[in-house]
Symmetry: C2
Subunit: 301 residues, 2 copies
């Protein structure tokens, strides 16, 4: 049955998660972040002046672009040159994103299939609008009578980001030089105590992509999605403390929850994609069906 209010809440979520594309976003005021003539991100207007104080690393803005100095001509030199500046900025400026410094290195490249041009501290990527990649796992069960339920995680109340909100059973960012399936196995083990013997049965089912901006910066993300049917007698358990509790919920209840503020927004999109692929949303009864699918795959040209 069509549920107009549900559709409208989901469309609103998709607009929020793609706010960078909307008229009036900071996009028109951003500087392109270029390395060797190739764009790898968008630098928000409040960030550019902090960077161009360091002309030994960042060339002054020209034609709407901030570039790295040509002397930084290798992966290592670029990475270390930028990291040194970011360490200074972190000490001297109050940028809330850098307060979440994680010592996690993310690869920076124009497209995922391109060789990385440098690495960058994860917490700094939003200051450069550098594309981030991650892995999200839909953990679910199918009862003997065919009823589908999903395992959801409740994030720890002390997490830096989105504390206390609902999350996928396991998820994590893709660090430099680490494989996608490897990341999946690691996050399944660490976050949900799902052993590799089970987690390796997860199979890839696509990606979602979105770009939003806020006071901190530009968040351009793509997530690699996996489905993992969990045995009926298996229960995820709290692992590294990022999660406070796991719930097994009937898929109809999950469908209601993704349209609420109780869900971490990008995890709600992951579940939305699951609901569409598994026919829990049908095009004849959901008038916005095609818009929902399109909203899960917005990409920057």
């Amino acid at each position: 049955m069509a549920n107009f209010a549900w559709s409208q809440r989901i469309l609103k979520l998709l607009r929020q998660m793609n706010s960078f594309y909307l008229p009036g976003s900071c996009r028109t005021d951003c500087f392109r972040f270029e390395i060797d003539g190739a764009q790898v991100g968008w630098i928000p207007p409040h960030v550019a002046p902090l960077l161009t104080r360091y002309p030994e690393v960042f060339s002054p803005p020209q034609d709407g672009a901030v570039t790295l100095c040509p002397s930084l001509d290798s992966y290592e030199r670029r990475s270390e040159g930028v990291d040194a500046i970011l360490q200074t900025v972190r000490r001297e400026c109050s940028l809330s994103s850098l307060e979440g410094w994680r010592d996690e290195r993310y690869s920076v490249m124009p497209k995922f299939s391109d060789p990385p041009l440098m690495w960058m501290e994860r917490a700094a990527t939003c200051l450069f609008g550098v594309k981030r990649y991650g892995v999200h796992v839909n953990g679910y069960t199918v009862s003997d009578s065919g009823e589908v339920s999903m395992w959801l995680a409740r994030r720890s109340a002390t997490k830096q980001t989105y504390p206390g909100l609902l999350d996928n059973v396991a998820a994590g960012g893709l660090a430099a030089d680490i494989g996608i399936k490897h990341t999946l196995l690691k996050e399944c083990q660490e976050e949900a105590c799902i052993p590799a013997a089970i987690a390796k049965k997860a199979h890839p089912v696509g990606t979602i992509s979105y770009t939003y901006s806020n006071d901190e910066g530009v968040f351009a993300e793509s997530q690699f999605l996996f489905d993992l049917e969990l045995p009926l007698d298996f229960q995820p358990r709290v692992g590294d403390g990022e999660v406070q509790e796991f719930y097994l919920l009937p898929v109809d209840q999950v469908k209601e929850l993704v349209a609420t503020d109780d869900f971490k927004p990008n995890c709600a999109l992951v579940v939305l994609d699951f609901l569409i692929r598994h026919s829990f949303i049908e095009p004849d009864s959901e008038p916005c069906y095609q818009e929902l699918v399109a909203g899960l795959h917005q990409t920057l040209e």
Copy 2:
């Protein structure tokens, strides 16, 4: 294993199918086609002068838009007013697209979830860049040992469009006022003699969207996709003569074929989406994985 040549051929196909978005396309020269202030299409530069000869229906271009005259203030008046002009244009101008007149009415609206503002002859939609919707079915089998094969159709050599090319087991455009599942059941029966008792087991799995332009016009399309696992002892049969033959091919062979010119391009995208959702393409071995997914979901803002 990564197959660089395959990836490159698929990326080229995705670029072709989204050529309207590329720099240098006719997009910058197109007029917006607007009804009641809402954009419903793009009119190519060679078409606009043919339409504005009829000021009783089309207002002269203004601010880059061609609009319907305000006197056409209802669904019926707009539909009949435009249809009368198109019948004249069809007789008096040599437009190859109108030679394919089908007497099939497509709905015209800004978004699928909006109420239709008029209907338009299917063959004319590309002259207005009006968004078209259709249904495509992935017919496949799973052997007792778990091997997946796909049923593909070879289009009749006498088809108006894409004669002799490979196609999905069943597909069809969505006519005005006809439901999506209804269209699926009809096309399964007519094109492939798949009875409703089997076809109704098809389940929706998402959409693909793309926009290309060529000498004929602008083709903005979204397809509603369904997976249909066919019984091992069932064979599709040639129905209405749109197909000359059906083949059951191992999925590996299908994967090779989608990267060849032997496939009708949009049907190749349907199969690509199937291959991704069913993990026949894996992100760790396909560097362009995320680009492939994104290329299947390009939409006009």
